[in-house]
Subunit: 426 residues, 2 copies
């Protein structure tokens, strides 16, 4: 009786590898619908850009590696069409059935292109290696001059960046007013500034279909949602976020069936409630926990704080925890502050860095923050994230003993300046 | 009746500025022995290097600024020679007496050049603007070819770096086996590698006086110690570290007399005991607290975790908390792990980054860590420092939701890889 893992990217392979480490003799089967496994999907925009030279550079492991080195049976081109838990078996598109004792569902997420039956040749998503390879070839061979990107989320703006660097005129079309998943003025103002700086046209509140807009090439990056149909049809509970509901052992509502990665909910450590924030880091972590528990372990995934970072041209846009708007919706009484400061001294190329901090008036607890700028944003967002993990109050945060030396920061780090300002408001 | 502050650099001016903000009408006098105030002393090596063009770029504020904008009477060239607390007055070298109600002592620290009565023309310390200006002029005018740096602490290696970048042959002489204040093999191995890489000769276990060693120019950067004579003579208690003992309000053993900055002890949040780790960040923070309390406030300085970072050529050497050796000496039962990982993907210029984590076997609490490498070390050390502030256990640290995107890190951040390795040892 085997452990079967549905999905051979981050979460699925983390689960399989962890299970193998714990159970040297267990039969482990990974079923991947696509032609490749172990795709570093976050690198796809940089392949389109041309920075990553070969598509194969984004493949970390091959099925052969898993077969030979790990004794894990990884099958590509194996799309699971049904899960029958009463019979402990999954059925593949080919009709083949695979029995399991424990099951890990790592079916990921996708862009919602369902409105379009089949995409015209000049319309691309940016989710698989094949997508990126075809888009790259299209740019090289067809010399498109004007690109439309549908969706101003992470992948949308990464794609806009990659296309612009290839010399294309780029228009980003976003149905809502959200840029990089937020619609507050401070954040969207910084995003708009940056797009404008690099000559990317942005149109918000435009509800176009991928085929409507006149452009030589279209990247469709809107409506990202979890692949839960298989789980739902198997009777597995779907949470309010639309992703598979899990407990803190990554177990679903069916005993012995685990879910991990972009298809699954996880707990949010600031709100204490389930959330769906699909990211590679969480996929790897939840995969490990699911894999350990699917072989009899009892590991816990404590949850996330919602940390993300994305590069748009030369700026990092990094955020973690709750925005003031989100905090208010969660019943907190937030105070927020936004500051601008130098990332380090001018003689070390210090540049403008923007920091936002959000804290709860009632408890003075830090609820979230953001850092935007050319350098140091990654480290600063990680400091905020770490503080959120421990439920730190803003008063303690203000006193953090952060590293200082001119090549790296300023004696009053922008985070501490922001904390001082925020405390004045509480 | 005035607030008198002895010392016009980081701690002293922070104290004065904070006091002014709290008490708009209080008379505030700052007595600085040197010719300038508000020196960004951490920038001195970069002035010697030539990166900072003008000495004046390192002066943030002038006495005139404080006089006109803040109504603070800042007097340069005013060396205090005695403090008579019973009479609430200080006496200057000139014989002038200045009365106070509250006193903040921010006398800083110095290199121990007491073995040498007066330094020969080719021997320099690197502590004042005058030191750096004279050294820079010496390099420009005398074209020295071989430099000796005495002391392999932060300033010593920053000076070695600056001199090497000016084309000099550089020999660093260190009496002990400590490099950047540590003598464990992992850390010193990395420092040695880096010095070797850039052609700096290092000799440890050599007890030379500044005048003994044949070199065209000598930078003396050994034996940094707090300036406590004034305080000691006034009957103020000196702690076991050799610095002025303070409570968590930065008050000394004399009521109404505060100490801050490089002359003062502070609490260490990991050991719970007084420590002396003289750094600009702590000077600014303790100055603020001393200034607030010296005007009737009741602010608390919670303490430090001992975070520092220094650049030696293209690598950052960053450390926080306790090393395994220090942890053992403090009665902990430490486990430590050292790993090497990529800071980010190769296609984004990711380079080798070395991380050490130390945790207590008994409580699993994180005790310290280090990060060394070309990029990302500053952010990573700040994450460890933040975790230390909250007394985080390694199990929680392993699950930190850190930001990931290819331009900034790897999906498993080196910190998390190190945490996973360390957990296996516990």
């Amino acid at each position: 009786m085997a452990l079967v893992v549905i999905g051979g990217v981050a979460a699925g392979l983390s689960a399989a590898a962890r299970a193998r480490r714990i159970s040297p003799h267990l039969e482990i089967v990974v079923l991947e619908k696509g032609p490749v496994i172990s795709l570093g999907a976050c690198g796809l925009p940089y392949f389109v850009e041309g920075r990553v030279r070969q598509a194969s550079d984004l493949i970390v492991y091959t099925p052969e590696y898993f077969r030979k080195q790990r004794n894990i049976d990884v099958r590509t081109g194996s799309r699971v069409v049904t899960v029958s838990h009463p019979r402990r078996e999954v059925t593949l598109e080919s009709g083949e059935r695979v029995r399991y004792e424990h099951l890990v569902i790592a079916t990921g997420a996708r862009y919602d292109t369902c409105a379009i039956a089949s995409l015209p040749e000049h319309v691309f998503t940016l989710h698989t290696l094949d997508d990126a390879t075809r888009l790259r070839a299209f740019i090289r061979d067809k010399h498109p001059r004007h690109a439309a990107v549908i969706g101003a989320g992470y992948i949308g703006l990464e794609a806009a960046d990659a296309l612009r660097r290839n010399g294309l005129r780029v228009t980003v079309l976003e149905r809502s007013q959200q840029l990089l998943l937020r619609d507050d003025a401070w954040w969207t103002g910084l995003v708009r500034h940056q797009l404008n700086q690099y000559g990317v046209e942005l149109r918000c509140g435009v509800d176009v279909r991928a085929t409507d807009f006149p452009a030589d090439v279209v990247v469709f990056a809107a409506g990202f949602r979890p692949n839960v149909e298989l789980a739902a049809e198997a009777g597995i509970e779907i949470g309010r976020t639309g992703a598979i509901r899990t407990d803190d052992h990554m177990e679903t509502s069916l005993r012995g069936v685990y879910a991990a990665g972009d298809c699954a909910e996880v707990g949010h450590l600031v709100t204490g409630r389930p959330t769906w924030i699909p990211l590679g880091t969480t996929a790897n972590k939840t995969g490990r926990v699911a894999g350990a528990n699917a072989t009899g372990g009892r590991e816990r995934f404590p949850g996330i704080v919602g940390t993300s970072i994305v590069r748009v041209f030369d700026w990092a846009f990094a955020t973690t925890g709750l925005t003031a708007t989100e905090a208010r919706a969660e019943g907190f009484s937030p105070a927020a502050v936004q500051i601008e400061a130098k990332s380090k001294p001018g003689y070390f190329g210090g540049s403008k860095t923007s920091v936002e901090l959000v804290a709860d008036r009632a408890t003075r607890r830090l609820l979230g923050g953001s850092a935007v700028g050319e350098d140091g944003a990654a480290g600063r967002i990680d400091v905020i994230a770490t503080a959120l993990h421990s439920g730190m109050r803003i008063d303690q945060f203000e006193q953090l003993d952060l590293a200082y030396s001119p090549p790296y920061s300023t004696v009053w780090d922008p985070l501490l300046i922001a904390a001082q300002q925020l405390i004045k408001q509480l």
